[in-house]
């Protein structure tokens, strides 16, 4: 007699997928056009057809604990070809959002990030922290002495900035690391169960080699460029990705110079840095790239009735676009000499940064960890997802 399987559908999972943009899931009639239309789906256990049926049956573990939804780069070829307009690309995006919630702790924070009603609380957290800690320590000065020109540290001390951002970053890294540990274990079990790998265990040396092989793919956005639909998304994501790399370098250099310079007899070197400094060039170029890249994302999402844009999508694009915009406006209003405006912009800019860092493990941005891990794992596991 055939093996008996008791299907236990997770109805909440199906409902949540709908809220996250996968509400056309049930239109799927399993023709498998999507798996063939996908330019990066492997021959062995291709996606997204199997994810469509597992999701529709509420088999959450089969999809959330799998690497495959992360191999998808959301190009939308499957949704374009789908004869039922079931939008597999959006279903996979919704599965990824669920995986982010699944693997991040604390759970309530993850759920708050995905709930528009909780947005005021999320905003209130950094605002309250900045104001309360700033007032108690005196590191927030609403009437700074600007005789030496406008400098933001006189209003919002760098100590106050780092007092929040450094712990926020440590928090984010810890949450992501714990999440990744469970994630990699789960996707390996899933791959073994579904016959997607011959590797019985995860060997560190082999895994590190896989990391080295995958990094160029990520840096060049090779997977992205294979998509035929949504070519503009490739450029937008490429710009945004590299602007973040640029801004990360800028921030790290400034951080090191600032705290290093406390050892100098002349005292700490505060910003603003001169416009001729190459680091400033990098900062400006990255800032503009961020605005352009995220602006393209907003435009393409508004122009595409075929693609679903859920709260999770707008949340991250909003933060990233806000980050770039407030950053550039902070600089421009400082140059213009509008002290109150530039300080207000700076305050908003810091809120955006706090959002980005502290909430990173819970937003779509966590894909930088999970997708990388999934791509590395698949490379390690010998899953041929490169055609």
């Amino acid at each position: 007699m055939a093996e008996r399987i008791l299907v236990e559908p997770d109805l909440k999972f199906i409902k949540d997928l709908g809220i996250l943009g996968g509400d056309d899931l049930k239109k799927c009639y399993q023709c498998a056009t999507c798996s063939v239309a996908c330019p990066i789906s492997p021959d062995n256990k291709p996606f997204p057809r199997k994810e469509m049926i597992a999701s529709s049956w509420g088999l959450k573990d089969k999809v959330v604990k799998s690497a495959d939804p992360w191999l998808c780069h959301n190009c939308g070829d499957c949704s374009t070809r789908c004869p039922r307009k079931a939008k597999p690309a959006d279903v996979l995006a919704a599965i990824r959002a669920q995986a982010i919630v699944e693997y991040s702790r604390p759970r309530w924070l993850a759920e708050a990030v995905n709930d528009p009603k909780k947005l005021p609380i999320l905003i209130a957290i950094p605002v309250a922290l900045f104001l309360v800690v700033g007032s108690i320590t005196g590191l927030l000065n609403f009437k700074p002495d600007l005789s030496g020109g406008i400098a933001h540290y006189k209003f919002f001390s760098t100590w106050l900035v780092d007092m929040h951002m450094v712990p926020a970053m440590l928090f984010a890294v810890t949450v992501l690391a714990l999440g990744l540990k469970r994630f990699v274990g789960d996707i390996h079990q899933n791959a073994l169960a579904e016959g997607k790998t011959d590797q019985q265990t995860i060997e560190v040396a082999g895994f590190v080699q896989a990391v080295i092989r995958v990094i160029p793919t990520i840096l060049t956005h090779k997977k992205f460029s294979e998509c035929t639909e949504n070519k503009d998304r490739y450029i937008a994501h490429f710009l945004t990705f590299w602007s973040f790399v640029g801004l990360f370098i800028v921030t790290s250099v400034i951080f090191l110079v600032l705290y290093g310079s406390y050892l100098l007899p002349t005292g700490p070197l505060h910003g603003p840095w001169a416009q001729i400094n190459p680091i400033k060039w990098l900062a400006n170029i990255s800032g503009i790239a961020l605005i352009v890249g995220t602006g393209m994302m907003i435009k393409s999402r508004l122009n595409k009735p075929d693609q679903k844009s859920a709260y999770k999508d707008w949340f991250l694009i909003g933060i990233a676009f806000g980050l770039g915009l407030t950053g550039m406006l902070t600089e421009l209003t400082r140059i213009a000499g509008w002290a109150p405006v530039t300080f207000a912009m700076y305050f908003l800019h810091l809120i955006c940064i706090f959002f980005l860092i502290a909430y990173l493990p819970f937003t779509k941005l966590a894909h930088l960890a999970y997708r990388t891990a999934a791509m590395v794992y698949s490379e390690y596991a010998g899953r041929k997802f490169v055609k």
Binding site: Y29, C31, A32, T33, A37, S41, D43, P46, R49, P83
Partner: protein
Amino acid sequence: MTDEKAAPVSGSILVVGGGISGLTTALEAAEVGYEVFLVEKNPYLGGRVAQLNQYFPKLCPPTCGLEINFKRIKDNPRIKVLTLAEVEKVEGGPGNYAVSVKLKPRYVNENCTCCGACADACQTEIASDYDFGMKKIKAAYLPFAMAFPARFVIAPEIVGTEDGQRAKQACPYDAVELEMQPKTLTLNVGAVVWATGWVPYDAKKMDNLGFGRHANIITNMMMERLAAPNGPTQGKIARPSDGKAPESVAFVQCAGSRDENYLPYCSYICCMASLKQATYLRSQYPEAKIYIFYIDLRAPGLRYERFYETIKKDPNVFFIKGKVAEVSEDPSTGNITVVAENAVTGEKIHQAVEMVVLATGMQPSAAVKKLPAAVKTSPDGFIMNDYAAGGMLGAGCAHKPADVVSSNQNATGMALKAIQTLVRR
């Protein structure tokens, strides 16, 4: 009372379209005593059925069914058949329509005996629509051997040319009349039945299925012509690129059907058509490998289910649950590789075959060319019948995708509905 055989006649019925549905409606109405005009745009009756090699599931040639109907028409003085005729305008209401019908010249009169002398004399060749362009025919031609009316046609291309004159001079019966002019008739009828049928959906629209780009990808209707004894290959199924007997053939089901990008509905007949065509291949090539890629196989009803069960027993017919979404051609051999995911095993299949048949669906003719009358159609172009209003009715595949037997049942019903319009008046 013996002379009162005919039903009380209170008006005539116009049937538009001389395919299997139109023939049925016309005959059923005429045989209870109503006067019927049967208007057909082609030079022959029979429509799509006349292009088929065999009917499913009995696998008999369509000529047997058509022949009986043609005889019934010949025997029935109440049916007036107009070929090369198209409705241009319909005015009036139920019980009282004035219909303008344009008649194109056939350039051949009733003296024709089908001797074929005109075709022998004619030098110009034209592509045969009847064979989907797979064959060249003389510009003076009989549409096909069983054609009814059994009369040659002169293509307008040669009228006014030397070739036209040659055809005329060759005719020993004075049947070629190159001076014939188009005419417009007005018919006064009480009811109109639109049996305008269907066209094979344009396979070029599915750009991922390669039709029109690769020679060895054909449609199911082309397959009917290839297999038909009166077809371009005299019934030998040969692939178009080199005439080779195919050792492997893939059938792509739902090519354009059940697809919101193309035809959102199921065309009803394509599963059975492919199963039937598998038998064409098997009868000619006992070893050929046949791959049928499907979403769901639809063989409705007991007889069709049995037919499917029979085909399933063939060890060289492989059923793969997964729609073909990509094709490529090996330019050196002309072979085609079709790609699908087998949804049962979860493996992508790259199957190389020598020929591919796209099971394209039915599109109602009204979707391609709007009907010249105020008839309500669905967004897909199927006629939506308003039985309470009566007057104008859709029958057969103009109303919904259907096989021959359902078309005939529906067409019989529409004959009754048309009669009711007349009687109610």
